[in-house]
Amino acid sequence: VFSGEWPGENNFVFHAPITSPVNRKLEPLGPHFLAHARRKRHSRTFSEDDRL
């Protein structure tokens, strides 16, 4: 909810990055992993993949 003065000039203000993620190993099975693998191997984004 909006409170007080809006600090920035733009409508979007960046404060801090996320906490560093940890590298883990995905289990290579299931339809959703296969879709992930397909995107990764062809360097596609979600929206590019949706269009196909």
């Binding site: 909810v1 733009n10 801090a16 996320i18 993620p21 940890v22 590298n23 883990r24 099975l29 693998a37």
Partner: protein
Amino acid sequence: MSDSSAEQEAGAVIGIAFGNTTSSIAYTSADGKAELIANEEGDRQIPTVLSYLDSDEFHGGEAKAQLVRNASNTVAYFRDYLGKKYSEIDPTNSHHSAHPIDADGVVSFKVVEKSGEEPSNISIGEITTRHLKRLRDSAADFLGKEVTGAVVTVPTDFTEAQREALVAAAKGANLQILQTIHEPIAEALAYAAKENMQPEDRTILVVDIGGTRSDASVVSARSGMYTILATAHDYETGGVQLDQVLVDHFAQEFIKKHKSDPRENPRALAKLKLESETVKRTLSIAVTASIGVDSLADGFDFHSSINRLRYEIRAQKVFDDIMKLAEQAVQKAELDLVEIDEVILAGGSSHTPKIAQRFRALFPETTPIHAPFTDAAALNPSELAARGAALQAALISEFDVEDIDQSTHPAVTVAPHLSKSIGVVVVGADGSEEFRALLPAQTAVPARRVAAFAAPAEGGDVVVKIVEGVSEIRKTIIEKKEEAVNGEGEVEDESEEEEEEEEEEIKTKHMKVDKLLAEALLKGVEKGQKIEVTIQAAADTSLNIAARIVGTQQGVRGVIAAP
């Protein structure tokens, strides 16, 4: 395309759950449902046993029955020996069948394959090949076509050498292993298929209680992708130990009557073991079970019965060990029991009502415990691994082996997982702020989530706060008192000691805001409109944020830079 892919199209692919005690085969039907395949004897749980008598090879239930009369030519419990040196194996479970021997470091079995001939040495690889061949043939007979490929489940602690040995053994059986997959994930996949593969974000505890070993795994399922957070193994807890509880119980009864211990005679012990296992299974569905063995020992027949309660009291230590294993896995994942969203009990021993009850008592009432005794819609725990393997086999049946290898390569499977949950702050009607997660912790990136929220009742400008959140465990003391309803005065009259006795500590999980990442301003939101927030985490762990008013062109976009 190569010749091999043309061949593959002609043949069928199946899922195989290869266990120490039993193995199962399954296929996925045209409508996408995984089904178990029964072998010629009608067994869906096929004992992982091979036996040799009069130049014939027996397999499954027929071979298992020979543990009584032909124990030295019967090979059982061999899965975990595969791909290991003789010095690395624990042959305890094979003491009452063909004992593994050391043939230049290779685990082998000395059995009489042809009657009248000298015993021959069969290597563990060859035994596995023969077992897989029988499974493949049973599946081919049922499906009416040749089986060319299979997805096989293995425990999470299977080494690379064991996987290679398995693939090599299958090649000997003219069976191509398309992929080896982890048992707990196959089991989770079987349940996901039941829900039509709806990608829910959940943290799942999978406890696989087998015959000779039990394994517990904590798995994070995020948008249908699975990551193992922690595993724990116990090689001395399982169905065999439960059988032993009954063997000891009946043996004591027999001694009382006849002054002789059937456990001292190998053949009597083998008979008692087989019958005790049947009694154990009966006790999973009925509250009493009877046993009858003709000429058990010293020519005496044995007839008796046992009720479930007495069995449960005697088996308490085994149950305790299973609970300990499950808690250990959760602890290793650095989670609290209340952070587990669901529990899947897999493996044959998960039919035991008391085990499901113990899990029911360990977790909050809202946590589903998937086992036949606690969930009427539960799948058969013995079938889960094979079903999961069959589903995966169907998914990749069209792929080339090269494709599968590339997709399972670490370059694809290793991905950054979010350390903390990412979401927005939602203000409730009473003005309290609450964290709503869009991307929960342990989500692999890239990932995308969309959620819609109601705009505040008064309308106006709306600030969307994108934040990181962490879970905290709150302990609340609940007094189990009925007097509290009668009025506050009476409660205070109670003595303090009494109150403490009746107190129960309840732990609940809450999410709290940890760090503000970004804010977005949406101007002039009208009453009753909805605000849609999209968070897209890129592979470099930067976040793309989009907030818009549903049904309008109005929106804000922004980027949260990568750390």
